[in-house]
Subunit: 219 residues, 2 copies
DNA sequence: ACAAAAGTGTTATCCATACACCCATGT
DNA sequence: ACATGGGTGTATGGATAACACTTTTGT
């Protein structure tokens, strides 16, 4: 009668904008039966750590960053989702600004890489389903919260912010309407600095007044 | 090193309208350290049942009904949420039409009863927090899905439906606007019958065209 | 006849959308 | 001077919100 219980794991759907595409971080597995297949990073939850803490720990291991947007997604509890063990997995989704992050592999995995969300390989476990749910949630929350801040650098131009929205939502937005909306929400403040990286007219740089999740109608 | 893992449980927040109030079902506990306290019903997930199945099983045990609206809420994973064991709990919320249901206790509990959501006793574990999250989710989903059907009998009057919305949202709605909206959504059909229980002008009875969850702007 | 809930339309306001030109800069 | 993205305002249509009276029944 010992050990007659499911184990608990976490899985991380880590989103970032890389090369102008919405990407997720995937690890390549070493062990059978999923050898060489790709999956979301994750791991078992220890007896003395909270599930949230396990997700944060794992995120730190893979990206070496903490203090990012991290939200529980849902819990996958099918009996056969892992063919070898009974594992109930709590999925999280994270938003990071990839510019200063390099993904770190470990002995446990063959590789870790960014994949554009619309060009995912076949994934292990029920992770294909998980990716769909995560993407739907991201799109939906983009429209009524301020969580984009998780994907943005410290300061950025309004066009850059608009691009991120367009990439994720998969449609063009009207520049004037976008700016009108963003300004009316009063989430941003001007830094007073300008983007000098471009060779054209410099754009004002903005930053978020605060970087924590709020509920707001955006688009 | 054996058994060094959290266990997995489900908790059920079962909503229903009872005596014109939004209520949840609570069980009264027998065992220490929560003796006599109230909590949401729930139980451990077996090794060979999915988490969803465990939730359904538990709901059936408590209410003797199946085929109701049941949705995963979130997973509570704090280390100390249960002082005796390490239990990660997947919370669900269910909507039932209480008219034909009587709550069933069991040897495990002292009692089971409906409590109005705004008059809850102090709850065991982290269940007070859970009740807040469940209620917020119910209110929010009421506004963009058709899940009210879970709380309604087979056929009902428009005024009855409006009352249910008003009870849950905690505010009065305009009768004409409500009806305009409901009709424009085309979720209902007239049964052709009339409510003869009242002593006044009889109201048309309606039923839902289909009883499954849909995303729709309602209020 | 009266009490009580059922049923029904119109107007005003707000918000989302569509749309085009001038500006500041580096080369 | 020119090429490039930055920056700005207005007009229209659709949805939401406010609002009051007539109808049908049982007693």
């Amino acid at each position: 009668m010992k050990n007659e219980h499911p184990k608990v794991a976490v899985d991380l759907v880590i989103f970032s904008i890389v090369d102008g595409m919405l990407c997720v971080a995937l690890i390549q597995m070493k062990k059978k039966p999923f050898e060489d297949m790709w999956a979301f990073p994750g791991g078992l939850v220890g007896l003395k750590e909270s599930v949230d803490a396990a997700a944060k720990r794992d995120l730190k291991e893979k990206t070496d960053i903490s203090n990012v947007y991290l939200e529980q997604l849902y819990t996958a509890g099918d009996v056969d989702r892992d063919p070898l063990h009974r594992v109930v997995s709590v999925a999280y989704f994270a938003l990071i600004n990839s510019e200063k992050v390099t993904l770190k592999t470990s002995k446990k995995y063959k590789d870790i890489r960014w994949f554009p969300v619309n060009k995912l390989p076949r994934l292990a476990y029920d992770h294909s389903e998980m990716s769909k749910i995560a993407l739907a949630r991201l799109k939906s929350k983009l429209e009524y919260t301020n969580i984009v801040y998780g994907l943005m650098p410290e300061s950025f131009t309004l066009s850059h912010l608009q691009q991120v929205y367009e990439i994720i939502l998969g449609r063009k937005l009207d520049k004037r309407n976008f700016r009108k909306k963003i300004h009316s929400l009063r989430l941003l403040k001007k830094t007073g600095l300008f983007d000098r990286k471009t060779t054209r007219r410099p754009a004002s740089l903005y930053k978020f007044k605060e970087r924590k999740s709020k509920i707001i109608e955006i688009l």
